[in-house]
């Protein structure tokens, strides 16, 4: 098996689906000749031609509309939004038109679109390139939200996302694109949407997290382990719909929970998860569920981004606190 970076794994998933299904199309800004600003679509135009992999004019709302329209006609569009902060120009397509089509047409139309966008702080990109905006999207019914933390999952989840008959928003963390390598099988395989993954087993406290924060949480977990606390780390992988079965099972075992997200604290995935834990597992809890998140502000500019981001240290503090009850 090949050791690939996450961006190469994504490239591989796209290649697999382009080969397998002629209805898949890739488009976005600079995805063709340039292979994307992070090379996620490297060589795909060369291999599959300009009819299947093409550059668009610089207009996200156009990209979104193109995707929805093609989606109604049996194509499987994979639309790249160059950076997360530019989804706002395409919000009508992403949060309104695509997610509501199945309902509005009573199932006559669906919209099997995959929107891909890099996001995530820690690489000092300019403002609006790296915010964690999943809270906005997970609040919207009708679209699934997926966020891998490693190359293997990235490939398997992206293939699932492309094959899914509903719209999927696929979030690619900038810090993970090149920083970690992992084993990635050749050819096709899938990782199911809606299934969390137990990354590390433990018995005293459960950490639920996703994206780059999986790695931050693992660091904190290892440190806690040395102090005799056994930490379970669960990678949610899909943020909408949440895999509550895995979450509840873990809490039944550990009776303590922490949620770690890079996104600002206010509303968002952690808030939703706590609400559902409250509904489904409150009698298994021996401590309040804690959150380690960014503050309820916009993401700090590059020069303060590191301080803004949840650190292993802050996760460790939360572990100590949750164990003190």
């Amino acid at each position: 098996m090949a050791q690939l970076t996450m961006v190469k794994a994504i490239n591989d998933a796209l290649r697999v689906e382009l080969s397998k299904d002629e209805n898949t199309l890739i488009f976005g800004e600079d995805v063709g000749v340039n292979g994307g600003v992070f090379r996620a679509t490297e060589n795909l135009q060369k291999e599959f031609g300009v009819d299947r992999v093409f550059d668009t004019p610089l207009a996200e709302s156009g990209i979104g509309g193109l995707a929805v329209g093609l989606g109604t006609q049996g194509f499987r569009p994979i639309a790249e939004i160059q950076f997360i902060g530019f989804i706002f120009e395409a919000m009508d397509s992403i949060l309104v038109q695509a997610p509501r089509l199945r309902y509005r047409s009573g199932g006559r139309y669906s919209c099997p679109v995959t929107f891909r966008a890099p996001f995530g702080a820690g690489v000092k990109s300019p403002e609006l390139h790296s915010d964690s905006l999943e809270g906005l999207i997970t609040q919207t019914p009708g679209i699934k939200v997926v966020c891998p933390s490693n190359p293997y999952d990235a490939k398997g989840l992206l293939i699932s996302a492309i094959r899914d008959n509903d719209p999927v928003f696929f979030m690619e963390h900038l810090k993970l694109y090149f920083s970690i390598k992992g084993e990635v099988p050749e050819g096709e395989y899938t990782v199911p949407i809606g299934k969390a993954n137990v990354v590390k087993e433990g018995k005293d406290v459960s950490i639920f997290t996703y994206g780059a924060m999986v790695h931050t949480s693992l660091k904190a977990a290892e440190a806690a382990e040395k102090e005799g606390v056994s930490v379970e780390v669960i990678d949610l992988r899909t943020l909408s719909p949440l895999d509550m079965d895995t979450v509840v099972q873990s809490i039944e075992k550990t009776n303590r929970a922490i949620i770690v997200q890079e996104a600002p604290k206010q509303a968002g995935v952690a808030g939703e998860l706590i609400a559902q834990i409250n509904e489904k597992a409150i009698f298994h809890l021996e401590a309040p569920v804690l959150r380690v998140t960014g503050p309820s502000t916009v993401l700090g500019f590059p020069l303060i981004e590191e301080e803004w981001l949840p650190s292993p240290d802050r996760v460790q503090k939360a572990i100590k606190k949750v164990m003190s009850y």
Binding site: P57, A59, T297, L303, I304
Partner: protein
Amino acid sequence: MARTKQKAQSLLESEIKVAPITTFSVLSPEGKVVNEDEVPNLSDEQLQELMKRMVFTRVWDQRATGLARQGRLGFYAPVAGQEATMIGSQYALDKEDFILPGYRDIPTLHFHGYPMYQAFLWSRGHQHGGQIPEGVNVLLPQIIIGAQYVQAAGVAMALKKRNTNNIVITYTGDGGSSQGDFYEAMNFAGVYKLPVVFVVQNNRYAISTPVSKQTAAESLAQKGLAAGITSLQVDGMDVLAVYQAVAKAKERAANGEGPTLIEALNYRIGPHSMSGDDPTRYRIKEEPTEWEQKEPLARFRTYLEGKKLWTEEMETGVIEEAKNTVSQEIKKADQYPKMKMADLIDSMYETTPPHLEEQKAEYVD
């Protein structure tokens, strides 16, 4: 609508055609005057000042790309090839006129009063980079392509309501001209007859995407026609042409005659930005050399030398001055106090609400 004829004789007659566009220029690439009547009314000192600013900007750009390579800057978008448009257009403004820039228009802002060390801080991602000094009439470099265009309509409406004679100028690129915001802005400005000058710097590329993939239109200038606004195309490497076009557009705007769209043809000689862009992936090999022959500094230098207004010593002097200024300003940026989490949190609202006060406590050690 009044000028629409009642009845077309045929379907063909009712078809609207755009006449071929001719590019306005004052100087040829060789530095010869090609448009005597349109040579702007500038004193010798003013002509020299334009040249000084272009040379200064070129040196600054070279230093900045070097600093970015060393990791001493954050985001930096090189400007070589675009100096004439940036400097010529700003020079036609009054200090009270407002600039709404894109991320590349840093020199334009600087000559309107935005300090260079703050530009460096903005590049690095420091909040102080955006704290535009009082009395400097510019908004922040815009990251969201197109947003500055629609906002320009708002700023211009404000100026109009206050009965000032001032205008707004806003900039985007050839890529930016594809955004919905681009059209909406011109349409609004047209409807309200707002004092705006819309500049599109057609530097031929949006990152890797050539302008031929942005539009089927023959020019970007003609995009203004649908909004019913004055629209023209200028040689954006000819500082006198740009100056003249913007000065006239400003005059019309200030006289209540509404907005103008100016497409300035130039070329981005360097990479898109210093964050990993590799132009050899998407450019035709000979292209940069062809454009370098038309580049703005060379032709204006020739023109001024012909008028005995420019010498090698003058050029060397400006180069030295630019190098010194850049070094001093970088030092100033280096010495500026670090950002603090508490300040970040406190700048979300006028009054920090309780939930943020509580969170702030987590960051104060």
